[in-house]
């Protein structure tokens, strides 16, 4: 591996088009070691951004540097892939494979030539995601959450420097998600982790930094606490629904939680969460309020 500065990923003005539609529009992004969350609605360009980082897609325009290397060059791309753990959104598996065989196959792709060492590594990563007991079970017989954990295990092979994970917590129960957070925060001591998700609570629990994408553009890039702070004074609890709120829903206590710029009738202020802040960012006028924070 050549020189690795503290900045693992540097994207400048990166654009990706598919025919006439633009999936990413002049995105600037820099990533350092630690966990960064990537939030955004469906179609925001999250998967395209992750594919670019996973070196499986080339940008239409712009400059990409990953681990100090140029993914446009054949040699550099191979070198990046040696230090990359990648979990795509749809991580399919060869038909008839067991969990062990699937991870073993990816380990073979990742140049683990010695069978004994490769098998030991496969057992290690399966244990990391709590799947060692089901290693011999056919993938098609596993539940959706179990398959996701096996797919995640392959990304941990060789403890990579850069982990690019698309919806890693999909289908996991709360206990498994908590356990995964432990694994990721351990890895993030030396690795750069980018985690795309719809789960704001995963980002709140795990990430110091969050990037919000919308329509192919970066809408927010900064510390999680600063995004949450944007929602201070705009989250309310009330007994009645409020039609003027950007978003409102009935909580377990029977009251209504509102994300709104103005206090609904008889409402009291509530402590904002990352989800409230994200809804505020996504809702109408809220965009202007945070425009100055966009990277």
């Amino acid at each position: 591996m050549s020189t690795i500065s503290s900045t693992s990923v540097m994207f400048t003005g990166v654009t990706r088009r598919y025919g006439n539609s633009t999936a990413l529009d002049h995105v600037d992004l820099s990533l350092q070691p630690g966990v960064t969350g990537l939030l955004g609605p469906n179609g925001a360009g999250k998967t395209t951004l992750l594919r670019l980082l996973g070196t499986v897609l080339a940008p239409t325009e712009g400059r990409c540097r990953i681990l100090g290397l140029d993914p446009g060059s054949h040699e550099d791309r191979t070198e990046i892939r040696r230090s990359l753990g990648y979990l795509p959104q749809e991580a399919g598996y060869p038909r008839g494979f067991t969990a062990f065989q699937f991870v073993d196959y990816v380990a073979a792709l990742k140049e683990w030539t010695d069978r004994s060492q490769r098998h030991a590594e496969v057992r290690r990563v399966l244990a990391l995601v709590g799947m060692e007991e089901l290693a011999g079970t056919k993938m098609r017989r596993l539940s959706g959450g179990q398959r996701r954990r096996v797919a995640l295990a392959q990304a941990f092979l060789g403890s990579p420097e850069l982990l690019v994970l698309d919806e890693p917590t999909n289908g996991l129960d709360p206990e498994q998600r908590a356990s995964l957070r432990g694994v990721l925060s351990d890895l993030a001591r030396r690795a750069t982790v980018l985690l795309a998700t719809h789960q704001t609570e995963d980002v709140a629990a795990l990430c110091e930094r969050v990037v919000v994408l919308d329509s192919g553009r970066v809408r927010y890039d900064g510390p999680v606490r600063e995004l949450v702070a944007q929602a201070a004074g705009r989250v309310w609890l009330a007994d009645e629904e409020s039609p003027s709120a950007l978003s409102s829903w009935r909580v377990g206590t029977g009251r209504y939680r509102h994300v709104a710029h103005e206090a609904p009738l008889g409402a009291e202020l509530a402590e904002p969460t990352l989800e409230d802040a994200y809804l505020l960012l996504r809702g109408g006028q809220a965009d202007d309020a945070v425009a100055g924070m966009t990277a």
């Binding site: 191979t78 598996y93 038909r95 792709l109 140049e111 011999g136």
Partner: protein, 284 residues
Amino acid sequence: MNRTQPTWHADESLLTAYLDGRTSAAVSASVEQHLVRCGQCRSGVRQLSDPVPFQGIWDSIVTDISAPAPTRLEVFLRHLGLADRDVVLVRSTPAVQGAWVLGILLCLLFATIAAASGAAYGSLLFLWTAPLVPVLAVAMSFGPHADPSWELAVASPSSPVRLILLRSGAVIATAVPLSALAGAVLPGSPWASIAWLMPSLAGVALTLALATWWPVTHAGAGVALAWTAVSGATAADGYRSSVGSATVELLSADVLPVYLVIAVVAGAVFAVRSDRLSHFGEFS
């Protein structure tokens, strides 16, 4: 046995060299004899011996006994001398499982129907089908449409060209003997049951070369259509003169070098353009 007290002790450097296996056979035997009699040096060995290698040995035993038993395909491929990592890569070939077997069965079925329908038409039907089987098998052995874990394969440092050639080799190695077997049951010229390998080789090389421009399925379909057109046109000519001559024309000594030239040129194009296969964008 009379055990006398030793008159000397092995120093640390000698014991370390012995434990590392760096001493000669004679010195090792001498040290061992001494250790049997000398408690002081035995405890020295205990202090010097590193527990880590033993843990490593134990771990490798656990790994070996808990590893899944190799499948018959894996055992066969290892017998052929394929490296362990390549065996794992070939085992994942989508076309080696399912769809591919179906293709071979269809080929055999065609050959059987052909054999039952009479020598002339039968040979033509076989000649049209047999070269297509390896071409379609290669088209089904890699790419996002055929391999559910293709995106992972692309994001890995493994050379995609190596993966593609390994998989193509695996499907051809299965296709050729089975198609040859089907050819052998045909009535008529035994030449036809072997000579079809030439257009088959050209078709596979052309498919791989075209896959550096188009998705491999399109490349395979294009080659299949071209072969159908060529064999159809030749058959039509054959009708006008004498039925059955199409087989002879397509596999005549004049035509066979043409297939060889196509195979060589397409192979060279693939070799030159193969790095285009390493980018997912080219495939999607």
